[in-house]
C-alpha cells in the first residue's frame, strides 16, 4: 500500500520536473570551474546521455503505475535485496537534500547575510521545507508553475539586461580542453540535476493518468535545460575566462548589470529567485526522502518522521563539508561517482528484469 494518497496530473508533473531542474541552476558552478567556456556544450551532451535513462524512469513508472520506488524495488528484487537497494536510494536522497540545504546556507553566508549564524539559516530554511512537505505533494504540484515562471522570468530578464556586456568571442576556442575534463563535466551535469530526477520515481506513482507522462516529463526537462543553457551562455559571454575564479559565477555576472546607473545591484533579486527555486527542489527531495523512509518502515503516514528528519538534515548539512571548496572538491569526485549505480544502472536494470519476469502483472496474478 502506498503512503501518499494525493494525486497529481501529468501537466503538474511537467512543472515539477522543470522546477526541480531549475533548482539546480546555482549548482552549474561545480561544472564551470572544470569545463570553462565549453559548459554550454557539456549541458547538451549530458542531456543527450541522460535522456534515455530518464526515459527508462518514466517507462518504469508507467509499468508500475501507482507504485513508488520502494515498492518497485521490493517487487523486482525481492523483499530483502529490494530493501537494500531502497536503503541505498534513501542514503542518496538524504545526502542530496543535505547538499542542497547547505547550498542555500552558503549562498546566504557568502553573498546575502554574511553576519548571520550559518546554523540559523539552515534551521529556518529546513523548517520551511518541512512545513511544505507536511502539506503533501498535491500542494507542491499546484504551486509548481509559479516557481517555474518566477525562475524563468529572472533568468530571461537578467540575460536581456546583460546583452550589451556580452562578448561572444568568449566561447572560443572550441574543443580546447582535455577530454577527461569534458567527460567529468558531462558526468557532473548528467548527475546534477538530470540524474537527480530519479527522485521522481517516488512521485510518478501519484499520477492520476500516465498517458502523457513521457511527453510532459521531457517537456519539463526541456524547460529546465533551456534555463541552464541561458545561464551558462550568459555567464560565459559576460565573464569570459574569469568565470572560473569566482565562487558563484551567476552572482558575479548579475552584479555587472548597470542600466544607466539606475538598474544596478540586482544580485539580491537573483538571491531571492535562487532561494525560491532551491526551496522548491529541497521540498521535493525532502518529500521523496520522508515518503521513501516511511514506505521502507511500512508506516501508515509519513508525517511523524518529517520533523526528526529535518533535525538530522540540518546537522548533516552543517557538518558534511568544511568549506565551499571542500564541498566542490568532494561533489566533483566521490559525490558523483557513488550515485552512478542509482542513476544509470538500477532503474534500467529494474525495467529489464520487470520485462523478463513480466512484472507487475504476474505478481498481481499471484496475489489474486
Amino acid at each position: 500500500m502506498s503512503i501518499e494518497k494525493g494525486k497529481i496530473s501529468s501537466q503538474q508533473l511537467l512543472f515539477l520536473i522543470a522546477g526541480f531542474v531549475l533548482g539546480s541552476v546555482l549548482l552549474i558552478d561545480f561544472t564551470v570551474g572544470i569545463t570553462e567556456q565549453q559548459t554550454w556544450m557539456v549541458i547538451l551532451a549530458a542531456l543527450a546521455i541522460t535522456a534515455p535513462v530518464i526515459l527508462s524512469y518514466v517507462v518504469l513508472a508507467k509499468r508500475f503505475a501507482g507504485m513508488n520506488l520502494v515498492q518497485m524495488n521490493d517487487m523486482v528484487y525481492g523483499r530483502f535485496l529490494g530493501k537494500v537497494v531502497s536503503t541505498y536510494y534513501i542514503f542518496f536522497f538524504l545526502m542530496t537534500l543535505s547538499f542542497n540545504i547547505r547550498d542555500v546556507g552558503e549562498l546566504y553566508i557568502t553573498f546575502l547575510m554574511p553576519d548571520k549564524p550559518f546554523i540559523f539559516l539552515l534551521v529556518v530554511f529546513t523548517a520551511i521545507c518541512a512545513y511544505a512537505v507536511t502539506k503533501g505533494i498535491e500542494v507542491l504540484a499546484r504551486v509548481s508553475h509559479l516557481f517555474v515562471v518566477t525562475g524563468m522570468f529572472v533568468i530571461i530578464s537578467t540575460f536581456i539586461l546583460l546583452i550589451d556586456q556580452m562578448d561572444f568571442s568568449n566561447f572560443l576556442p572550441f574543443f580546447e580542453l582535455p577530454f577527461i575534463r569534458i567527460f567529468q563535466g558531462i558526468h557532473i551535469v548528467s548527475t546534477i540535476p538530470f540524474g537527480e530526477t530519479v527522485a521522481f520515481l517516488m512521485i510518478m506513482g501519484c499520477l492520476n493518468k500516465t498517458e502523457h507522462a513521457v511527453k510532459n516529463t521531457f517537456f519539463g526537462l526541456f524547460i529546465g535545460v533551456v534555463s541552464l543553457l541561458i545561464v551558462a551562455v550568459r555567464n560565459t559571454a559576460v565573464l569570459g575566462r574569469t568565470q572560473t575564479i569566482w565562487t558563484s559565477t551567476s552572482f558575479q555576472t548579475i552584479r555587472l548589470i548597470d542600466i544607466g546607473t539606475v538598474l544596478t545591484r540586482m544580485d539580491f533579486l537573483v538571491g531571492i529567485a535562487q532561494t525560491i527555486l532551491i526551496f522548491f527542489k529541497c521540498s521535493l527531495l525532502f518529500y521523496v526522502l520522508v515518503v521513501a523512509l516511511s514506505q521502507l518502515f511500512g508506516l501508515k503516514s509519513y508525517l511523524p518522521l518529517v520533523l526528526p528528519l529535518a533535525g538530522i538534515e540540518v546537522i548533516i548539512a552543517a557538518t558534511v563539508f568544511q568549506s565551499p571548496v571542500d564541498h566542490a572538491g568532494i561533489t566533483q569526485n566521490a559525490g558523483i561517482i557513488y550515485s552512478i549505480p542509482l542513476i544509470f544502472v538500477i532503474p534500467p536494470l529494474s525495467l529489464l528484469i520487470a520485462k523478463i519476469r513480466g512484472l507487475p502483472k504476474s505478481e498481481r496474478g499471484k496475489g489474486t
Binding site: 523512509l293 511523524p304 529535518a310 533535525g311 540540518v314 557538518t319 568532494i330 566521490a334
Partner: protein, 73 residues
C-alpha cells in the same frame, strides 16, 4: 542548548500524543528512532563534539581505497 531542548520538546509534544492515541506503535517506534538520532546529532553539534561526515567516508572509500578519481587540474 536551551533552543535545542525547546525545539525537541516541541517536536515531541506535537507528534507523540497523537501517535499514542491512535495506537500507531510502529509509527511511534520509527519516530522515536529518528528523534533520538536527531537529538543526539543536535547535542553533539551544540557541544562542539566532532560529527563524522558520511561524504568524507565515501571519499575515502572511493578515492583512497578503490582509487576511482578524476584527475585534478
Amino acid at each position: 542548548m536551551i533552543f535545542l531542548l525547546l525545539i525537541y520538546a516541541f517536536i515531541l509534544i506535537i507528534n507523540v500524543p497523537g501517535l499514542i492515541k491512535r495506537k500507531e506503535w510502529r509509527d511511534l517506534t520509527a519516530f522515536s528512532i529518528l528523534y533520538v538520532i536527531a537529538f543526539a546529532l543536535g547535542l553533539m553539534y551544540v557541544l562542539d563534539i566532532p560529527i563524522p561526515s558520511p561524504m568524507k567516508g565515501l571519499q575515502h572509500l572511493i578515492v583512497d581505497i578503490l582509487g576511482i578519481e578524476y584527475p585534478q587540474g
